[in-house]
Symmetry: D3
Subunit: 335 residues, 6 copies
């Protein structure tokens, strides 16, 4: 079985049931999420081994988080039990034109306050085929950024494929560094980057001048500067409403622009984690299907299916994705 | 902060969860509703002070109702604890072509049996900017009709704007009076009336003869007879199905007919109270935005959002309404 | 009141709440279903008497099943309490492109292991107007097939109308017989058959050679060979997604092909039992409306409404169906 | 199977989950109860046929109530669908020293407003072995009292055993009659009466002068005056707390005073309907065991078991009662 | 109505349903608690006005907290919307010998980071009869301690009775001060102190040397040094198990030691907030009953009742407490 | 970390919520249990590695079961995905004198139909310190019995400690063998046996003739015949009621009889799996505490705690058990 290692924060997700406003809720559904771990969780369902590296406080909430990762089939042997608290996000589930809203409460989490020396990356990455990280991690603290850098360097050294979700939230960077300070070096060790044209321009301080084909132009500039990067992928989402989205995927392979059809998700159950589900599907495609277009298509189909599942993780199997990928969107009852 | 006073019955709302038929339900979700109070509740979320005047029995159910109003931020200092029971309605939630059904059980409620002398309207309305009532109230009993008349007269005397939802249910009037006996005098003290052309014709015993522009014609006749009335508003609802509605608002300002675009609510969560949410938004527009078209648009956007929230009240804030009003129906996740 | 007798297995239905994957569910909603009983349950809501003939183990689960049938208004006086277990199916509720999935666990159920001598059909069918069975029953065991044959023979003898849902699941036939061995004789006693062209060809070993009008051709061949059969009906379902279906009904009357418009079910609550609801509506039409087109239309409207109700049975009344049948799909709130 | 007929009001029972105060509850558990019907429901579980005679409004709530009675196995063919509403009681479940509280809302129910001419008692009681009524029924309205009198007279004429639960609530009698006006004549047709010494004194305007053995003395006076009465039974309840009760049963047989040991219910789940469960058990004993002491013991054991079941009805079977009756209170797991 | 003002942090309380371990829970019941506010909430149910002074972040969670306080009937006009987060505690509900466990996550809450200048105590305390604070508040931060000191000084100046719950948690004091640094000055402005002998010795650096009557000795030493203090109260809890507690109250009045009987709570529903409920009852007694023994008895009865209610607040009324206080612990059903 | 391997069937546990009778339940709580796996799950919480060997069908239910084992921290790498169904038990939760009832539906489960050749015990047991099995396993089928025998033989050969829960259910043995045919040989490879005197006499066809000390006598006879057996342990349970049990543990060490005090569990939450929790605690004691009395005490304390947790597994940690073991049964809140 192929093996992926992921690194990043896990947050307790407390969501309101039945589209309730937070003000109404007398209870919250409780699960856990984390963009990198969500990618690994998808891949476990597709037959991969997955190890997630993170920190939890050594209390009942940390143990709960660990048990949840085990439930998902994720190896927790490199979870460090240290620190004071687990970050939380409260999710008010929207519908139609009413947007879902997230209230983050993640300051000073065990992960944000990590010490890079806790992680022996040579040992952690032994036997891995893939390493995945996201731009949120280095945004949290200097320690998290350093650990991430060590991880990608080690992965590179060991010949492990590195994918990077260059998604940075401008309001997160509070420890004195900017995305521009940190992300370019991290990205330079990547084989595959998920980024929009705008992300590329902002993070890598590039400016696309072309009138047309701006995404391709940005990709070319990026790859020229960072020759490790072999592929840039992105998705496009049409937000018809909170209950109805359409989206597709595209990729610059260094040679050509590949794009998939749009998936049409008409009755969204849960919007969170759908990008991670796309990435999980895409990585499956790269490793198992070994075809760029099919990777994108598998990713988009997987991401579409995630919109129908409550919680942050995609729990569908390869046959379910293949069925959608091959064009069957009928949702025909399986007996 | 502007202050609204509302007057009317509060019913216990017992609704089936998960689209269950009443026959199936082993539990009911319990909340409270009342068309006038719902208007006030909307306005509390928009920053108004709101006082609701009503009657509850002095028992555990009356106390529960009072606590619920407090939760909504409504001043309950003029709730009279008197009478035997609180009215109830059972709501079976429909979907697609299956209509929602309401079973009313409101006979002899504390409110219906009120004594008009319980309410000192001079004191209640002191400092208020707006008074709102609905045609259901005078339908319930002679006492309720009298109290309502005193309220609108006092409001007029104090220079308070009066809005009237001239919605009468023909099957409610059981105490010997007809809508035609009672509503015209009550309406005569109104500044703003929510009414359809048909309502106007029936209640005020008018007959529109024009071939076209019948709504405007009815409004003109009405305003001529009742010069206090400055605006007539109405909504038009296209019932695609129990799960999908479209609706807009229109207004005769005395000078011109203003109409909004239609809002398209494709995945209805709760249909009840959406007209009240429209009115709450409209009143916000009149008081704060002070623009007729924007009032209608704010009202329609607010009403559309209400379709996505369980319960009788609209719990959205001004920024949420403004976002929809300005054309963003994407429901994009807010982090 | 007209009276229907149905015969078949009842399964415990354990479904995940809120579109959960089976892996996520910490609880299952528990109810019972059975294709033939579901037809009877529909008809009880339409004013029929209904008796269901089946077997339950004489334990707490069998008693629960019996109480559930009573709740539905079905006469349980011919339920045999014998055998070891009640069959179960686990239902994972899908959405959009994610299909619902059923895991069956019905081997060696009390019904499958029945002894045909337990049922005195002369007595059971006394006073009945209609008998209904489905192709799943003879698929389960030799005993079930025999009991079914005795039932239809007796019904025929007593002049009771027999309807047959010739739906066979190829993976069920495990006791040494094939559908081709068993179903033709059973079907020969039917007045009305629900079957697709493909079903007819496979079960009755016929081959339609016509280029066009294949369904009609198949019906003609079938009726020629089995002159008891007076009508063949079928439905066509367009699976837009797991959340959105369209379907209609058609019938060969022996003389003409009748077809209804398509019903459009845009927000499916529960997909299971919709075919049974169609049949229940159709039988109501045959017995009460006594018009072929209206029977089909009533059936299709009833089936459409079933998609909005959780559980296997249709719980709507005649006025609710008539409203949809007459073209009102607005789902307008009924107060 | 022996057959019992019961007559009385059915109320919708809306109880708070998890010991919540009514003020806290966002939902209510919904079931139905009625003291006489509860007796019949117990007996159905013990193998009797039971018919309940009552009135429901012909709406979704009335249909729900009817379906619930069917679920319990009670024959509903003599339920009259007439009237406006079904009475309701709200139950706040107490614990330890906090008492449970009931808020009644039963005025003008379909049952209270019944017309005695709706019921043909000769037909209803045909084939019955037992008729049971309770003092609440004649307290509700003149019509209910008249219907009850016709019922007991007819039962007497047909040789059916009549049991009476002479429990009157002083605050119910609002139609101009007192318990003393009405109950003695009704009671005179009874074979068996459930009444305390105090009840007897108050209702029948008797005064026990003995220092000791007052209950027996009262029974003797009663039987002398009303020779139809063959047995007087009563229970004694020690209220340790809302979570812990003890109680026993006693009977004056006309010749001797029989008393059972006390049952100790240490962890009460639901206090409501336990007296009805006692009566159901007692009647089983009279009809099946045909022994006075065993009747009382079976009744007390049945009533004790009822304290462990949510809802108004006792759902235990004969073996469960026999086990407790024979002294086994170990609650040992049955596999 | 008497008026109490309270000051302190409000935490989101997330508790597991049905005695679940935190590891098992898929949802948490969500409510709010705060030791000082809980006291005010009790008093609202007893007819007092209550104002709570605290800080919430200006986001959906802060608004939810504010709505919850309104639901309880607490005046929120002095709640400051400022800061980043609301503190949280996770509650795993124990039973029998398994202890309940709390995981606190309250660092850097909006309240802990308050700026004392936000509060104008002269204005806040205007018209108040009572001010209550607890030793947790000054433990949180220098700002909180300062605000608390200003509050008690102002209260003293205005002649308002001050009660202090000298409960300090040694593990909270993390900002460089010790309880011994801060609490004595704060306590010196109190009229009434809730403290154990051990608390007194530790906080006020006293050492009781008497062999017997140590509590009284400690009280005497305390009152000598801080002459404002008029009464010292304490409770004694016998922890039979997590499901069964007994406790009483005692008071040194400056002249005599008063003690109540023990209340026996045999089936605990919720252990949290019972001390606050005691204090709420005690303050009611001081203000309304104006008798020391009755104050203690009312407090102990109120606290006992709180053990039967889920959530942090006591929701019982004066008649419920009086009933228990007068010795009726029967929990007899109230109709 | 010490490592335990367990072998046995896993059943889906479907239990009624809130003490409902099975007849009432509209949903079942769903979890999994298995006597041997429960022992392993306890030990995971105490810091052991645990591997469970069993069979699941390769469908959604099998995957759910596997995910549940992972959640518990149990290694599932030796779970065989083969066979048709997973066994089920329905649990009706009793209270006070009403017994809990289990309806088993486990015939022809994947485990019962296992093929012994699927398991390579040398590989499975590599590195293990302990192997545990129960008498239910060889009762299910010849294959299960054979696999069990191979397991204990291999364990013996590898020097692994073997514990046996000689609990046989007479009604399970349906494949032509008796407990007397099978269990003695299996037991002969055990180091430790959990058995009552009665079990020993029946299974090993021995007859204790002593008047006193019969348990010791039986142990002596057993050890004489099967010299591998070093310790015999047993528990004694006093069933006060379904809500209140007391129990202790005893052991014959070959030299002396050791007995613990009784634990008193006064408010039982869940009775199932308490014996397995005892065994888990006992094994922890043997391996870690290495003291016979302490092993028994730790086991009894662990088992007592299990009664307070819903589900089949004990989820408490070593400090929680130690606290109870050391005599603290106060359930004092841990902050």
């Amino acid at each position: 079985m192929p093996k992926i290692v992921t690194f990043g924060e896990i947050l307790l997700r407390l969501s309101t049931p039945n589209f309730q406003k937070i003000e109404q809720a007398q209870s919250f559904n409780a699960t856990f999420g984390g963009t990198e771990m969500n990618v690994g969780a998808s891949l476990v369902k597709f037959g991969f081994d997955a190890t997630h590296v993170t920190c939890f406080p050594d209390n009942l909430m940390g143990q709960k988080a660990k048990a949840y990762l085990r439930f998902l089939g994720i190896d927790t042997s490199h979870v460090k039990l240290q620190g004071d608290r687990i970050g939380v996000f409260f999710l008010e589930t929207g519908a139609v034109m009413r947007a879902s809203q997230i209230v983050y409460d993640r300051m000073d989490s065990a992960f944000a306050n990590l010490d890079p020396s806790w992680f022996n990356w040579e040992e952690i990455l032994k036997g891995a085929d893939w390493f995945h990280w996201c731009g949120i991690t280095p945004a949290l603290s200097e320690g998290a950024a350093k650990a991430c850098l060590e991880a990608v360097k080690t992965a590179k050294k060991l010949g492990i494929t590195v994918s990077s979700d260059i998604y940075y939230r401008s309001n997160l960077w509070k420890y004195g560094k900017t995305p521009q300070d940190i992300l370019p070096e991290l990205a330079s060790y990547s084989d595959i980057i998920l980024a929009s044209r705008k992300n590329i321009e902002e993070i890598f301080s590039m400016k696309v001048t072309a009138e047309k084909g701006k995404f391709v132009e940005a990709c070319k500039m990026l790859m020229e500067k960072y020759p490790n990067i072999k592929r840039v992928i992105d998705t496009d989402r049409v937000q018809v409403s909170a209950s109805h989205n359409q989206y597709n995927g595209k990729m610059w392979t260094g040679e050509e622009l590949i794009e998939t059809d749009y998936q049409d998700i008409t009755h969204i159950v849960d919007r969170i984690g759908t990008g991670d589900a796309f990435l999980g599907g895409f990585i499956y495609g790269q490793v198992v299907l070994q075809d760029d277009l099919k990777s994108l298509q598998f990713g988009v189909a997987a991401g579409a299916l995630k919109h129908t599942i409550e919680g942050d993780q995609n729990l569908v199997t390869v046959p379910e994705v293949e069925s959608v990928m091959s064009g069957d969107k009928s949702g025909r009852l399986k007996r």
